[in-house]
Amino acid sequence: MKRLSVPILLVILLSILMGLSYFEVIDLYIQTIILFMGINIITSTSLNLVNGNMGEFSCGHAGFIAVGAYVSSILSVALFTKSKVFGAPLLPPELAAYGFPFVLIVGGIASALTGLLIAIPSFRTRDDYLAIITIAANYIIITAIINIDKIGGARGFMGMKRVIFAMEKCAEIPWMILWVFLFTVLTVIIIRRYMTSTYGKGVEAIRQDEISAEIMGVNTNRIKLVTFMISSGLAGIAGGLYAHTVGYVNPKSFDLLKSTEALVMVYLGGMGSITGSILSAVIFTLMLELLRPLQIIKWVAIPLLLIIIMQFRPEGIMGHRELSDIFPKLKKFYKFK
């Protein structure tokens, strides 16, 4: 029972979400907010791996989201739909529903490789330098996309809605809810497994004392690269999901503001805490929507809130603790591995 409680809970949650969307109890607006919650959970937990667990300061998470979004969008549009840029679909559109997860994963891999490319030079330096390099990388990626006219340049790239329609030909269900849910769960499992293994605990050792980690036999360079690649790869998957949720990507939506949003979520939720990142992603998404009537003042209210939190709880909501550390009794009811 203990072993099954989390999967059962997840299946129930997924069926409720799918059911509510299928019977149109919740409208598209609320569905989109739910989708954004999932995407933001992936974004914040993956950034948390580098900024919270490893103690480095990566500021260019949106760059990796952009790579994943573009690679998977281009791939899915080229493979499954008829488009002006790529012509006839390369594969029968009926395969869209099955091919989509692979497309997402390819986007993730592309992001991870970009992450590797950036990590190799930047991990020779430390602390502030990594922040500067990742900001630069974010701009390089955005500028590169703007200058590739074939994929829309500054106008953006669209056509992903047709991929969703192609999926719906296969079965008339809210596909995006399913995919976002599955990949969110997968991300949390990946990060959780990584951080609970002895290999992953080397990441914590690096944050706490890098020199003693290296001397005690932790291959710090390698583990930093691997962690950065996992983080950027998962960000790429978030990007792919984002692109297909919105149905349209624009380089502007992956600029430094998006990276800042990711940072805000990590620091709000508490560094190094998976449950904290999940919680803050949900709160942050809701807050963005609830404060929408304030329009531009929203971007005064949210930073203000962040300042207040940093004043009274500088370690974030959870701060290097998981939910099970705060409520130890929870451990009786589940076993999550």
């Binding site: 290999y199 914590e204 050792a205 004392d209 932790v218």
Partner: protein
């Protein structure tokens, strides 16, 4: 062949000569000391041996293998581990996790195994956990397995650091001032502990220590360095009566 041979070791820090043409050898199953006044270059020697600095000149051979160009984690994988003068445990990890992570190089599974929880991964994780618990038990600190090191008394933290250094099964253990900051009662306990480690484990110990009581009662051989140069080496009795040493280190006081 000696276990560790230090040959003509020289370390310059932008002109400052921290270690100069040092020549030393350590045999297997030996407990030896390295002493010298403050700033003599003792810790620098340890930092070079553990791979943290690359020496300007000279060579270090461990079991006949040249350590030049090896990263610290590779040196530790070969079987040289150390403790630090100012305890450098990972402070926010439990004592058990500290011991586990120190076996990082010997995990024996890849990332694929980790994410898919393959039988090999599960077995290896279990093995290193069992080994860590065995170590904690024989050092009688298993009741602190889930404590953070910072919650332990200073002497206990020293002990944990020694256990951490032992967990990867080293051939050579470097102790950098193990008695620094300990109270007199803890010091005698530490002497017993180090002697016990030396008797129980198949390794050599090389220690830097300021407290004469510790070095004189433990080490069979002692090397003395001053300004990076070796000025004397021999048994504790010889060192105590060596006029060079008395001049450089002990002053005019008799031991």
């Amino acid at each position: 062949m000696s276990l560790l041979e230090v040959d003509n070791l020289t370390q310059l820090f932008s002109g400052l000569c921290a270690v100069s043409e040092l020549k030393l050898a350590l045999e297997e199953r030996e407990l030896v000391g390295l002493i010298g006044p403050n700033g003599a270059g003792k810790t620098t020697v340890f930092n070079i041996v553990s791979g943290f600095y690359q020496p300007t000149h000279g060579e270090i051979r461990f079991q006949g293998r040249n350590l030049a160009g090896l990263k610290p984690h590779q040196v530790s994988a070969l079987g040289i581990t150390r403790t630090f003068q100012n305890i450098r445990l990972w402070k926010e990890m439990s004592v058990l996790d500290n011991i586990l992570v120190a076996q990082h190089y010997h995990l024996g599974y890849g990332l694929g195994g980790l994410f898919f929880r393959t039988p090999r991964y599960l077995k290896r994780e279990k093995d290193i956990r069992i080994r860590a618990f065995e170590l904690l038990e024989i050092f009688k600190i298993d009741q602190f397995a889930d404590e953070k090191p910072t919650n332990l008394p200073y002497g206990m933290q020293r002990k944990v650091e020694i256990v951490r250094a032992l967990s990867s099964g080293p051939k050579l253990l470097l102790l950098d001032e193990p008695a620094a900051g300990l109270q007199a009662t803890d010091v005698s306990e530490l002497i017993t502990l180090i002697q016990w480690v030396f008797d129980q484990f198949d390794l050599s110990i090389w220690m830097i220590e300021h407290q004469m009581k510790v070095v004189m009662s433990l080490c069979s051989q002692i090397s003395v360095i001053d300004f990076g140069k070796l000025i004397a080496s021999g048994t504790p009795e010889e060192i105590q009566n060596n006029p060079e040493v008395i001049k450089a280190y002990l002053g005019d006081d008799q031991l």
